[in-house]
Amino acid sequence: MTTTTTDLKLAAWQVRYQQRSFWRNKRAAFFSIAFPALFLVIFGGLNGGHLKVRGDLSFVDFYTPSIMAYAVVLICFNSTALIVATLRERDVLKRVRTTPIPGVVYGAGIVGSMAIVLLIAIGVLFVIGVPLYGAHVPGAKTIGMLLTLILGAAVFTTLGIAAAKLIGKPENGAGLITIITLPMIFLSNIWFPIDGAPQWVQDIAKVMPLRPLADGLQSAFDPRFGGTAIMWRDLIPLLIWLTIGAVLMTWYLRSLNRRA
């Protein structure tokens, strides 16, 4: 067996162990799956109406993709940042460095595990939104939705790993991460459309990475958009953010690995 095959197998094993570890932390599991699901249940149940600013779009067609974007932030950014900071602060990474497992393989285990968590969260939201609340099935637009979702998840994972640098003690991390993400969530069409907000607020929102993710996903549920809903308007900003995220992540991981 070549080293690459062995390492791919090893990464798959790491995903399994990270999965076991993740689901045993009940708090993290709650915030990743139950929390966004509850939001959709409550918002979808409270608002049976339509959004005038979005051409009479129904609230569930707005909230289902919005909460999906929110779940990406919670899982790929918040949880990943906390997991990496915890592994670093508990000196787990220091131990890992003394063993033969390559850092890339160890990291792939964490990222792969979070991808599974995200997949489950999106699945739960889809089930609540579409069959339960009658949101519009995206159909061919699933392609655009998945593309946006994958790119958005990659953006927030790289940013989440880099954000671990900002977290000192993991116990205080959850609060800090919320302070970073909350303003962005408010300005990014998650809780309500900000189409009517002043231009300068819109301008700030547009340069943040959550806005194109939310907009892209919403387009897939919006009957006004047809075809595959591949929205370059949103994919290009996400690609730019992925580059920024990759640079920040690499920079942080290098500093983590530097020998004094």
């Binding site: 090893l10 094993w13 162990y17 570890s21 993740f22 131990r95 003394t98 063993t99 033969p100």
Partner: protein, 319 residues
């Protein structure tokens, strides 16, 4: 051929290693070799540069100058082939707390090209009852034993043990010692740091004492610092009202009394002990607390390190 060359050189070579920080010269020109299968113990007060030197050899830090080789590799470059053959038991090592003892050993074992079965390791460190317990529910001592097992999981050729039995109860310590001893008998090289002199005495083939960034003495624990040539100490208590004037003539011996206990220091230990016990039997004098001893490793260590004042100048681990 390369691997054959690597097995012929000493397991660990340290040559003229210096480590300077902005205003601290933490390691000042340290050199030593450790042969395959030897247990080498590094002793020294806090701030002597022990941790810095150990981390250089483990590959966590790079020296300012000088060379280090472990199994023929440069640990500063941290090649995978080297990490596959060493085991490191860190002092404050993190473990993924949500996993169980058995899962952790199984997971870590997969990282190595050859590994020891989890059950064997669990048996070795006596954690049989804790196989399915999550790390977060282990006691401090149980965690340290898991640390040892994790260091051994890759069946390493060189094992680094940083204060491996701190926090152990006496029974667990004895057991850990015999485990480490058994490992050495299978040809493993061990690099040990410890604060316990009895641990160094029991385990080490060679001891080096580090003070202020330099090695001030090294050798087998029995002989380090000229210990084997130091005078023998004979101690006993005389019956009440009797003073040292009653003792037979003891050539080349210094006699002192402290709190009712007589201390005879002599380079002719056998002759002196014979004279004293012969006199005691002949005169029917009861000598309580009678003992004959060489200075302990701790005595020698304290003499070697007494000039240095321990401080906390050792640099903090950078993030």
């Amino acid at each position: 051929m390369a691997s054959r060359y690597r097995d012929r050189v000493p397991a660990i070579e340290v040559h003229e290693v210096h480590k300077r920080y902005d205003d601290v010269h933490a390691v000042r020109g340290v050199s030593f070799d450790i042969d395959h299968g030897d247990v080498f113990c590094l002793l020294g007060p806090n701030g002597a540069g022990k941790t810095t030197l150990t981390e250089i050899i483990e590959g966590h830090r790079v020296p300012s100058s000088g060379n280090v080789s472990v199994l023929g590799y440069d640990p500063g470059k941290g090649p995978r082939a080297l990490r596959d053959r060493i085991g490191v038991v860190l002092q404050s090592a993190g473990i993924q707390e949500e996993l169980t003892v058995g899962e952790l050993l199984e997971m870590t074992g997969r990282w190595y090209s050859k590994s020891l079965p989890p059950d064997h390791l669990i048996d070795l460190v006596e954690l049989d009852a804790k196989r399915d317990t999550r790390v977060q529910d282990l006691s401090g001592g149980q965690r340290r034993r898991l640390d040892l097992a994790l260091g051994l999981v890759g069946d390493p050729d060189v094992l680094f043990l940083d204060e491996p039995t701190t926090g152990f109860d006496p029974h667990a310590r004895r057991h850990a010692w015999s485990t480490i001893r058994n490992l050495c008998d299978t040809g493993k090289t061990v690099f040990l740091t410890t604060h316990f002199m009895d641990e160094a005495q029991y385990l080490a083939d060679r001891v080096a004492v580090m003070v202020d960034g330099a090695i001030v003495a090294s050798g087998p624990p029995e002989a380090i610092g000229g210990r084997d040539e130091l005078p023998t100490e004979i101690r006993f208590a005389l019956p009440d009202g009797m003073d040292t004037g009653v003792l037979p003539a003891l050539p080349d011996a210094a006699i002192s009394t402290d709190d009712g206990v007589v201390l005879v220091t002599t380079s002719h230990g056998v002759e002196a002990a014979h004279a004293i016990t012969g006199w005691a039997l002949a005169s029917g004098t009861a000598l309580r607390q009678f003992s004959v001893a060489q200075p302990t490793l701790e005595d020698v260590y304290l003499a070697l390190t007494s000039q240095s004042v321990p401080d906390e100048t050792e640099p903090q681990e950078s993030r």
